[in-house]
């Protein structure tokens, strides 16, 4: 174990003595950028510039060095490493939070210790490397003391994942909580928190008694419940049609399930505007044929409900298809041999077995609807929901982060509540009827009434969805939809024009900048997401350690945090030292990694559970270490899950909007944020052209990867493709 600890120790020294401790160029000009090289390191800076509080960082490093070199301390090395690493981490964090740009971060510290002459900026490369070194020294110490079966890799991995989740999920959320109680002068007061949380425009019920709008919470909940019901019923109808009828075009229904993955969430809104907006096709037709005047009815609850139902039905379909397929046909055959008719069988066997799944689909749609941001933003009009209200509290004229934080807390509680119900209540109730044993039964045909109902609901809705997507793809080619329907390439040229200049090719279209940034961010975040997710999955499935249940809950909790809340929490948390990231590309990448990680975890967990544990135990007894076992045994068997994670995180990074709209900067603009900006300016043509380009791009990427990777099968083992049903918005 000595060499690995020694490497981390050496890196700790490098971070402390050689690399610049502070970040190069923050957005805050108050502190001079650190000198390059060793001169800006904590060691030199602490000695020469009067930042004495950096020097104690050397203490654990010296201690660990002594434990590694001196033979008489050898036997106590694990304890020393553990204590030293823990102290180092604690000290780095404590001084980072206590001392801000202009001295003490909190007034009471100044009162206690006297004023500080100078402050400090955000952590830079040196601080990051040294902290990482402390973390691994600590986990090595843990392993050396015999925890985690003495496995340093496992201990290190757990430490890394926990630290990452703490820093990039829980720290930001903590900032939201404290931000909501901000008194305006930097302090925290429960009274301020209560005032914000209990604001009348959040909770009032005046819409019941008079013609005023209700509180934003009731709007959100009402919308979410309606969306949940509608999507669940539609999803159920689709699933029944796909699994239990002789419907021919099942492949086409499958296409429907891919659509929400490759589509930015607000694109449906654009399509709905093309149909029902003031210049929409349907609106114009109605006005012409029946003299119904064009109105703005679509902007508000009806429009948002319609678009959310369109957008989330495929997700509900995916959930329901699993549920319907999961019902062992032999159960129904058994019911029939016991003289139950088709209808009685459906009512007494099939439906009760499906019920928990139906509730699950409802809750998922409920959470999706609450978290949805793009559709209410574009179609909401005066109908405000929590996610848009948060956005306008930060971005609009109000610029009131405290208010946004309070709204964020409410939204977070709603989502976590639904998530908790889903896991605790439904987790125990599901009747997973697919066992390892083969079930030779043939699925029962549906009773006639239900079959007709399922067809009548599902098919028109599917047709409607496809029409909308057709409109999006077509709409980019018209001059001005509804008013001037002549065909043109104008919008595409505006977005993606190329020209030759003196310096060679010029990417003169307006969309290129954001498109390149988007692809760069997506390409950087995808492998990171897959790596962190699969590592976590490995820990969850393959290792046994104390507190594993809590660990799993923490990782999955981040899944229920709505994107808008993540966005607001990131700008609150990472806008100031010690971790100062706003305006950089790093914050976008981090945001995507921790937003999409849960899906990657699920894919990994699903795939890893299918690999018999004795395979890695066998590898261990044959002399391979954890790392070698992962590389040679687990990773090759996990290929499908890795590809799924990569594709998913890449695509999600390109299509998501809710969190990143808070985090984009002029330098790092993302495609979705740019499109929403165009829509807000009324520039529909370009927005639609850009959206369809994204959709086509996504389809090509997915098709290419499918083609390249294919479905590799190993002998008789069937590699189950991972369903991409989780979709944080």
């Amino acid at each position: 174990m000595r060499p690995r600890s020694a490497v981390w120790l050496a890196l700790g020294w490098v971070g402390f003595a050689l690399l610049p401790w502070f970040a190069g160029s923050g957005t805050q000009p108050a502190i001079a950028p650190p000198s390059p090289g060793p001169a800006g390191s904590a060691l030199i800076d602490g000695l020469t510039s009067g930042r004495w509080w950096l020097l104690p960082v050397a203490l654990p490093l010296l201690l660990a060095l002594a434990a590694t070199i001196l033979p008489q301390l050898r036997s106590r090395q694990p304890t020393i490493l553990l204590a030293g690493g823990a102290f180092g981490l604690a000290w780095v964090a404590a001084q980072g939070f206590a001392i801000g740009l202009n001295g003490w971060a909190w007034p009471w510290l100044g009162a206690l210790f006297g004023p500080l002459p100078l402050g400090q900026g955000g952590f830079g490369a040196g601080a990051a490397l040294t902290s990482l070194s402390f973390l691994f020294l600590m986990t090595n110490g843990f392993a050396g003391l015999g925890f985690m079966k003495g496995d340093r890799f496992t201990a290190g991995a757990i430490g890394l994942v926990l630290a990452a989740i703490a820093a990039f999920v829980f720290l930001p959320v903590a900032y939201v909580l404290s931000g909501a109680g901000d008194t305006g002068t930097g302090g925290f007061s429960a009274a301020a928190l209560w005032t914000r949380l209990a604001a009348p425009d959040i909770w009032r019920l005046s819409c019941l008694t008079e013609a005023k709008s209700c509180g934003v919470v009731w709007n959100s909940v009402f919308l979410a419940v309606m969306t949940g019901i509608a999507t669940t019923l539609l999803g159920l109808a689709f699933a029944l049609v796909a699994v239990r009828t002789g419907f021919r075009a099942k492949k086409l229904l499958r296409v429907l399930t891919v659509l929400p993955i490759i589509t930015p969430p607000f694109v449906i809104s654009l399509a709905v505007i093309l149909l029902f907006g003031r210049n929409g096709t349907v609106t114009l037709a109605l006005a012409e044929w029946f003299g119904i005047p064009a109105s703005r009815w679509i902007y508000g609850l009806p429009g948002v409900l319609l678009t959310q139902t369109l957008a989330f039905t495929p997700i509900s379909f995916l959930v329901m298809i699993g549920v319907v397929q999961g019902i062992g046909p032999s159960l129904e055959e058994a019911a029939q041999t016991l003289r139950a008719s088709r209808w009685v069988t459906f009512r007494t066997v099939t439906w009760p077995l499906m019920r928990p799944g139906v509730a699950n689909a409802f809750l998922i749609s409920f959470i999706e609807s609450l978290a949805d941001f793009g559709n209410p933003l574009i179609l909401g009009g005066n109908f405000e929901v929590l996610s848009t209200k948060i956005y306008f509290a930060v971005v609009g004229a109000q610029n009131d982060p405290g208010r946004a934080a309070a709204l964020g807390i409410i939204l977070l509680c709603l989502c976590l509540g639904a998530f908790w119900v889903q896991r605790q209540w439904l987790g125990k109730k599901s009747y997973a009827t697919v066992g390892g044993k083969g079930d030779n039964g043939i699925p029962l045909q549906l009773p006639r009434g239900i079959r007709i109902a399922a067809y009548a609901t599902a098919l028109p809705w599917a047709a409607f969805t496809f029409v909308l997507y057709g409109l999006i793809l077509f709409g980019g080619f018209t001059e001005n939809w509804g008013r001037n329907n002549s065909l043109t390439l104008r919008h595409y040229l505006a977005a993606f024009d190329l020209s030759w200049g003196p310096g060679g090719l010029i990417w003169s279209g307006r969309a290129w900048g954001s498109l390149f940034t988007t692809i760069e961010v997506a390409a950087l975040s995808a492998p990171l997401t897959a790596a962190v997710g699969l590592l976590t999955a490995y820990l969850l499935v393959r290792q046994r350690f104390k507190g594993q249940g809590a660990f799993e809950f923490l990782t999955m909790l981040s899944f229920a945090i709505p994107g808008t809340v993540i966005g607001i929490s990131y700008i609150l948390a990472f806008n100031q030292p010690p971790i100062e990231l706003t305006g950089t590309i790093t914050i976008l990448i981090l945001c995507f990694v921790f937003r999409n990680m849960p899906v990657s975890i699920r894919a990994g967990v699903a795939a890893m559970s299918q690999i018999d544990r004795s395979l890695d135990e066998c590898s261990l007894t044959l002399g391979a270490g954890s790392v070698q076992t992962i590389r040679r045994v687990i990773l090759p068997l996990l290929r499908p899950a890795i590809v799924a994670s990569l594709v998913y995180s890449f695509v999600r990074a390109i299509t998501s909007i809710s969190a990143v709209i808070f985090l984009v900067s002029p330098k790092y603009e993302l495609a979705t944020a740019y499109i929403v900006g165009r829509v807000e300016q009324g520039d529909f043509g370009l927005a639609i052209a850009y959206s369809s380009a994204l959709i086509v791009l996504m389809s090509v990427v997915i098709a290419l990867i499918q083609l390249l990777v294919g479905e590799r099968r190993i002998g008789r083992r069937t590699a189950t493709p991972v369903t991409l049903q989780e979709k944080p918005v």
């Binding site: 015999g146 079966k149 003495g150 496995d151 018999d612 004795s614 395979l615 135990e617 066998c618 590898s619 261990l620 007894t621 044959l622 002399g623 391979a624 270490g625 954890s626 070698q628 040679r632 045994v633 090759p636 068997l637 190993i714 002998g715 008789r716 083992r717």
Partner: protein, 360 residues
């Protein structure tokens, strides 16, 4: 290059393995001599697999000391122990060929690819699978997969080779052949092997010594013969070979034999080392003979009167269920020429061998 063996002994000193408040293995001590095959036998949940996994390093002992070859390995992870294991599920890597599977341990421990391949081929030859190297595990039958797993464990020349219920996934016929093959290989290479099974017949067939475990502790240790003929307690008597357990009374002992009173009868059994008084007699099913027609009467003298409840013809022998004053008895009788029909009265006599006294 050939496959040698470097057998080493295994010793457990007061080893426990606890999960929360329950102990899977409770203060267990034993020693396994180098070059022998020792079986851990017991019903499921008795702690035998946990014991095996502690030898492998896949589980860590909560307390106690584990020595392999005289060296303390208690805190050593599986990777660093010179112990290999044949898994119940075989655990062949499905994405590697048979040859790659066998060479895996050699490659990861840094042997050159070509040497590893040569040695793997040799290992496959040893288990009778030469020429199968380029197949995938999924293309082999269950018995062949089993052999690959054995070869993979052998080529590392382990100090101890562990078998975790290796035959439980094979059909009865193949099981018998495989167990003979494993025993033959073990004796030929002089390996130290620890073998886990819940099948007492398998244990009797392959072992030099057997460690019978029950409820996290060792019930008895001994050679197959000792365990069968001189069980020390009720559990071992019942678990190995199955026995009729009858209440009797120990009246005295001399010269290594003891006298037990059973109703009117007195029987001579090996001295159990118990004080006189109430004991339990473990009577093997084949230690009872039936004599038809001689019902009740005082003339019986050396037997007890019984009624035949059930008679089953099994070709090579008869199986009887009897009702007697000492409770129901189960008897295996080789006399198939003149079976006693169900419902008949008969006299049951005890042969000298196959009876042992254990504490009640």
């Amino acid at each position: 290059m050939s496959i040698a063996s470097k057998p080493a002994g295994v010793e457990f000193r007061n080893v426990s393995r606890r999960y929360g408040n329950t102990a899977a293995v409770d203060d267990v001590s034993f020693a396994i001599e180098s070059g022998t095959l020792v079986t851990l036998l017991g019903p499921s949940g008795c702690g035998k697999t946990t014991t095996l996994r502690m030898i492998a390093g896949l589980e860590m002992a909560s307390s106690g000391t584990i020595l392999i070859g005289g060296k303390d390995v208690t805190r050593l992870p599986a990777t660093d122990r010179n112990v290999t294991m044949v898994f119940q599920s075989y655990a062949l890597f499905p994405h590697m060929t048979v040859a790659d599977n066998v060479a895996y341990g050699l490659v990861v421990s840094g042997m050159r690819k070509r040497d590893a391949a040569a040695k793997a081929a040799e290992g496959l030859e040893l288990v009778g699978l030469g020429g199968y190297g380029q197949r995938l595990p999924s293309e082999l039958s269950g018995g062949q997969q089993q052999r690959v797993a054995v070869a993979r464990a052998l080529v590392l020349e382990p100090e101890v080779l562990l078998f975790d219920e290796p035959l439980s996934n094979l059909d009865a016929k193949l099981r018998r052949k495989m167990r003979d093959d494993i025993r033959e290989l073990q004796q030929k290479l002089g390996l130290t092997s620890v073998y886990v099974t819940h099948d007492q017949e398998e244990a009797l067939a392959v072992s030099d010594r057997i460690i019978v475990m029950n409820r996290s502790v060792i019930a008895q240790t001994g050679t197959p013969d000792e365990l069968y003929r001189r069980p020390k307690n009720r559990f071992v008597a019942d678990f190995i070979g199955g026995a009729n357990l009858i209440d009797g009374e120990l009246v005295g002992c001399s010269g290594g034999m003891a006298t037990v009173a059973l109703g009117r009868l007195t029987l001579s059994v090996p001295d159990p080392g118990l004080p006189t008084g109430e004991v339990l007699l473990a009577v093997r099913p084949n230690a009872i003979r039936l004599r038809a027609g001689e019902s009740g009467g005082a003339g019986g003298g050396d037997g007890i009167p019984v009624t035949v409840r059930k008679a089953t013809y099994l070709g090579s022998h008869m199986e009887y269920g009897l009702t007697s004053e000492f409770g129901d008895l189960f008897v295996v009788d080789p006399n198939v020429a003149n079976p006693v029909p169900a419902g008949a009265s008969a006299l049951a006599t005890f042969t000298g061998d196959g009876i042992a006294a254990v504490a009640r």
